[in-house]
């Protein structure tokens, strides 16, 4: 490892050793694809993926310089920003497809559920993977848009992987899931009631790659090269869905059938700033920033 986030180890040939903290899910397929295609090597970056189960492991790793870059959803990044965690986004991560009913995340119910629309979720038990994060804020927006009062939704925390079982066993009335759990729920006969990302904002930017403020300041060149490589990867992934489905098999254990069926997200290179503002507004409404207002401009590159 390196000390203090100064752009990783640089070996004799001027190649930077870069560690990226990622969550091994569909969203990060482009970086794996880009690595395969040599987009990083071309820019003298030797990439190692370190997979963690979410922000708890990745953000401290980036802040302390154990990882040079990390991947996180925007709501978490906004929360971090309000707490003055010294980080800065460097590239877009993943975005919603923007198509109602055809997004990579959705609120699902059982086929025979009395819940028909998002408004029916009021007073029901809905699972999200993490409370007070992007899941519940956007689902609340879906409910709001459908004319319901989002105050009375009973959110509970269930990991995505366990959500299909929880729904099936009747432990929750509805689940918010993303791929590949979404396909699993569909296969089990689940019915979609809302595309919460689409409801929240058109073409919502969901997640981003980020680095520590320190590295951003000290090694602008590395950050620039990394951003370029990521952007190339994103574009390539967006244009080659079959290759994306292929690369998923290399770092996840999603079976082939599901890989063929699942809905892929969008991977634009630009962060949709308005959508981030929307997320900040939604989060503020739901009180997840402890009363603070995130400074979006400071977070974005």
């Amino acid at each position: 490892g390196s000390d203090g986030g100064s752009g990783g180890d640089t070996d004799a040939g001027g190649v930077d050793q870069v560690k990226v903290g990622v969550i091994p899910i569909v969203d990060v397929a482009p970086i794996y694809l880009g690595q395969q295609k040599g987009f990083f090597k071309n820019r003298n970056i030797e990439l190692t993926m370190e997979s963690g189960q979410g922000g708890a492991a990745i953000v401290p790793g980036v802040v302390s310089g154990q990882f040079q870059f990390g991947f996180s959803n925007f709501t978490s990044l906004l929360i971090a920003q309000t707490k003055n965690v010294p980080i800065k986004t460097v590239a877009n991560g993943v975005a919603s497809t923007g198509e109602q009913g055809k997004d990579f995340g959705a609120v699902m119910v059982k086929a025979d559920s009395p819940i028909r629309t998002a408004a029916d979720l009021v007073g029901k038990k809905v699972s999200v993977n993490t409370l007070e994060n992007i899941g519940d804020t956007t689902v609340r927006e879906s409910v709001r848009k459908a004319g319901g009062d989002p105050k009375n939704i009973n959110f509970v925390e269930v990991p995505f992987a366990n959500a299909p079982a929880a729904l099936e066993e009747g432990q929750v009335d509805a689940v918010w899931v993303v791929e590949p759990s979404l396909t699993q729920v569909k296969a089990a006969g689940g019915r979609m009631v809302a595309s919460n990302y689409v409801d929240a904002a058109p073409n919502l930017s969901v997640a981003a790659y980020f680095t520590s403020a320190k590295l951003a300041g000290e090694d602008a060149d590395l950050v620039k090269r990394f951003t370029e490589a990521i952007n190339e990867s994103l574009t390539y992934a967006d244009g080659h869905p079959d290759e994306v489905r292929g690369v998923l098999g290399s770092y996840t254990k999603i079976d082939e059938k599901t890989r063929a069926e699942l809905t892929l997200p969008k991977w634009p290179t630009e962060i949709n700033k308005e959508s981030v503002d929307t997320l900040a507004k939604l989060g503020g409404q739901d009180g997840i920033f402890d009363g603070a207002t995130p400074d979006v401009a400071k977070l974005l590159p």
Binding site: K19, A56, P60, G61, E168, I254, D255
Partner: protein, 257 residues
């Protein structure tokens, strides 16, 4: 006897396998979420031939073994020192009680901060959790010294070291064994959990990947591997214990009179 016991143990495990096969087959649980043994076994079979799997097992066992070794050595030394010196015991009791219930998982940010996803992170969590197991057992073991045995040693003017070596240690040994067996599985649990959450390479990471990928049979197969590692570790500990505790009441009883 030993062979009979071995057979019974296998029978017990076989019973578990049959139960897991039967539960989904009888429709008592949805087989999407708890697949029958046969499907789990098939997934395991596919996995066994990959080098990736064995690397993961190797990584987990490395973290486990090193962490356990450090924890046991530290636990025994500190435990005997504190247990044998009443002043130390009184002075450290509250601190020990304060530190012990702090969950290793709460230390994850700290671990990542210090070591990233390297072995160091796993070790920190493993050692922190397993150390207390050994320590507490040693403390109780040291307190169990028969006063007459201790007086005998004192009357023959055994030095402090000789008393530890010849009286305290043999008395505490059965407690230490229990402590080591507890620590061994806690260490395994923590090694896997650390990999699971931090993403350090190993079985835990494989489980996490299988879990997020919805590969349920594979996930159970990997969990089963973890469990079997535990069974193996315990078997080894038991064998070692039988050998070194031949004098102890609990082992004496094994030989039918």
């Amino acid at each position: 006897m030993t062979r009979g016991a071995g057979l019974l143990g296998v029978a017990g495990l076989a019973g578990l396998l049959v139960l897991v096969e039967a539960l989904p087959r009888l429709g008592l649980v949805n087989d999407d979420y708890l697949p029958p043994t046969s499907r789990i076994a098939a997934a395991l079979g596919d996995e066994l031939v990959t080098g990736e799997f064995w690397r993961a097992v190797g990584d987990t066992l490395t973290g486990w073994a090193i962490g356990l070794l450090i924890a046991v050595a530290a636990g025994v030394v500190v435990g005997i020192l504190i247990g044998a010196v009443p002043v130390l015991r009184a002075a450290t009791a509250s601190t020990i009680e304060f530190l012990r219930p702090i969950p290793s998982v709460a230390l994850i940010p700290l671990a990542v901060l210090l070591y990233g996803t390297d072995l160091g992170s796993t070790l920190l969590l493993v050692v922190y959790a397993a150390f207390w197991q050994v320590l507490v057992q040693v403390l109780y073991g040291v307190a169990d010294v028969d006063p007459i045995a201790d007086e005998t040693a004192r009357s023959f003017r055994f030095g402090p070291w000789a008393r530890v070596r010849h009286v305290l240690w043999p008395t505490a040994l059965p407690y230490v064994f229990t402590g080591v067996r507890l620590a061994a599985s806690v260490a395994l649990v923590l090694a896997v959990t650390a990999e699971l959450v931090i993403g350090a390479p190993g079985l835990g990471k494989s489980i996490a990947v299988a879990q997020t990928s919805g590969a349920v049979p594979l996930m159970y197969a990997l969990i089963a591997v973890t469990g079997l590692l535990g069974v193996g570790i315990n078997l080894a500990a038991r064998m070692f214990e039988r050998r070194s505790l031949a004098w102890h009441q609990s082992v004496r009883g094994e030989v039918p009179a």
